[in-house]
Every structure is written in structure tokens, then in C-alpha cells.
Symmetry: C2
Subunit: 206 residues, 2 copies
């Protein structure tokens, strides 16, 4: 009906809170949401496709893009860069699609700086006890690492103030339903759409 | 889980837009929403109950409440006062229930002044043509009155800027679903709940 731009949604929260599970469930239900495609300098693996799994770049290309502020956020892991290309996000939004980004807290803070008009959703653990259980049950971390991750989680929770919404991940279904509501209601925000609606009526009166 | 206060939601929009229909559908689906009970000076009719249909007051009592700013909004029709008592709304919110108010644009503007922390939803006609059809199809208005109502509607649409959300009433089901999303997402707003969540974790760490 009206020519509406898409919205960038950023889901983040402490490690162990269940961001990935919530994102996968959400994407099974919300089929008009586009997942943000990352850019990387790591080698393309068999079966992967440019522009679907990742955008593949050389180290030099990636560093030029960093300098040109063409990444909403980036980080380095095991000698490779990973990041969120601004151009893909902006083009997809301009086409009228929402973009969804699931990301660690540090990355989300970078996105906040580079794209403050995004809608930031903090996934909150039902309790610290439960967060600890989830980290432990992965089975991949030593006792020392679990404690370190918990300390980090507590620091990350302090960053909640930079977010627009807080969703408790007590049940995946309930968290997904809340995120769907946030997406739908953000599209009803008066400051996003009032101008276009008024225009619509004015055109009708001509 | 946390001790959350209710939220006051105000649904308004030009006459003929279908506020009443949307509100009735919403209440069939959202059973934990409390409808705001009005106060009136008109006589109690057979079958009506104090505190369910209305709060009944004498003209003198009502005017005292107006002076004491105990009404979020009020108006006079056919020599009787009708209004929204602040106390009922505040007590219900304090009990943790959301309150829902469906009201004309003039009244909503009064509520905005007296209770700016409410969440204001503007119900928008799919088109002026459709709004005209709806007013005409009521069959109760003369041609002159229809035109007058349309002129009023256009003025009322200008007041959209005072609202938080705009929902198009193209299909009742879709409008109701959007309002349900607004209600759910408002409860996830960080500024409403972050403090309590942080407190929760701090209590756990003691």
C-alpha cells in the first residue's frame, strides 16, 4: 500500500543465552525477513556460494572496506576477518525488506555506532543459574572458562541500556513470538509511516 | 517473573474508521486486557451494574472530580457527563493489568495531556473513499452530515502526530493482530524493564 523501507533488527545478548536457536526458529516462521550475509576473508569451502553463505574478499579488499567505513561491524578470528557489509544491508532495506542480524554484544555495539537507526533487541537469560547451565551443557568448556564466560555475561548484561528491547529467553517459542511482535509493531511506529500516510490522503484529495 | 506494571493503551481515530469493531475483536482474543470503565452522571438503567457498565456519579460529584483533575478526559453529551476516571486506570495498572481505552480523537488528546505515558494508537482508514463509504453505509447521516464528518476526519488525521503508532484498518483481523503486537512489544521495551531485570540478577548474585 505504501512504499515502506525495511528495518534492520539486531538480536544480541550474552554468549550461552540461545541467540542462534531463537534466530533459527524465527526464520522458520518469518519468511519475509532477510538474514544479513556476512563478508569474510576466509577461503570459500566446497558447497558454499558467494552472496549466499558469505561475500568473499581478499584481506586487502576487506581492509580497504574497513577504512571506507563500509562495514557495520567486523572482527578478526583465527587470522580471518568477518563483518557485516553496509551496502548489502542498505540495498536490502531500500528494496523494502527487513534485515535481521544475530550477533555478539561487542559487534552489536559497533552496529549501534554505525547504524543507530537499527532496532536493537537484547536476549536475556531467564537467570544466571540457567545461563551457567547452558554454557556447561555445551560440554566444550573447562570449569575455568565457564566462570570466565559468566563474568563476561554479567558485563554484557550491563550493556543492555544501549538496546531498544529486552526479551527473556525463558522459552524459545515465547521469545520468538515477542520478536515477531517487535518486528510488526516497529512497522506501525508513527514516526516511520505518518508522513507517507498523510501523503496518501493528500494524493487522494487532488 | 518480574513485578511489572500494566500499560495504558489508547485506541483512537476518525469517526467511521471502525474503532468499535476492532476493539470488540481485540477483546475476544486478548483476555488479560482490562477495558477502561467510564464514569457518568446519567441514570443507571435496568440491568446495568456500578463498576461494570459505568461508575455512576451525581453532577456535583463529577464536577468536583473534574476540578481535582481526577479524570483523564471527559465530555458532555445531552446534559450528562462521561469521562475516564484516573483512579480506576491507575489502580488497574498498579495491579499489573493493561488498560485499554477506545475513544474519540478529542478525548484521546485530553488523555495525552493528563497521562502522557500512555501508548497512543491511531486507527487509520484504508482510504478517504473507504471512510466515506463506511460513514454513508451507517445510513444514519444526511449527505450534508457525511461531508461534514469527512472534513472532521481530515482534521483528525492531522492529529496523528501526537500518537505513538498508526495502524491501518484495511482488514479487522490484520489491525487486531498489529495492536496485539504493539501490546506485546511495549512490554519488551528496555526502558520499562531493564532496571528490574538487572535487579533480578543482582539479587541472584547475593
Amino acid at each position: 500500500m505504501i512504499d515502506e523501507k525495511g528495518i534492520l533488527f539486531i538480536l544480541s545478548g550474552p554468549s550461552g543465552v540461545g541467540k542462534g536457536t531463537v534466530r533459527r526458529e524465527l526464520f522458520e516462521k518469518a519468511n519475509d525477513l532477510k538474514y544479513s550475509i556476512s563478508m569474510t576473508t576466509r577461503e570459500k569451502r566446497a558447497g558454499e556460494t558467494e552472496g549466499i553463505d558469505y561475500f568473499y574478499k581478499s584481506k586487502e579488499e576487506f581492509e580497504t572496506l574497513i577504512e571506507e567505513k563500509q562495514l557495520l561491524e567486523y572482527a578478526q578470528f583465527v587470522n580471518n576477518y568477518y563483518g557485516t557489509p553496509r551496502k548489502y544491508v542498505e540495498d536490502t532495506l531500500a528494496d523494502g525488506h527487513d534485515v535481521f542480524l544475530e550477533i555478539e554484544v561487542q559487534g552489536a555495539m559497533q552496529v549501534k555506532e554505525n547504524f543507530p537507526e537499527g532496532v536493537f533487541i537484547f536476549l536475556f537469560p531467564p537467570s544466571l543459574e540457567e545461563l551457567k547451565n547452558r554454557i556447561v551443557s555445551r560440554g566444550t568448556e573447562s570449569k575455568e572458562l565457564v566462570l570466565q564466560r559468566l563474568r563476561e555475561a554479567r558485563k554484557e548484561i550491563e550493556m543492555m541500556d544501549a538496546y531498544n528491547y529486552v526479551v527473556v529467553n525463558d522459552h524459545v517459542d515465547s521469545a520468538v513470538s515477542k520478536i515477531q511482535s517487535i518486528i510488526q509493531s516497529e512497522h506501525c511506529k508513527r514516526d516511520r509511516i505518518a508522513k507517507q500516510y498523510k501523503q496518501l490522503l493528500e494524493d487522494e484529495m487532488k
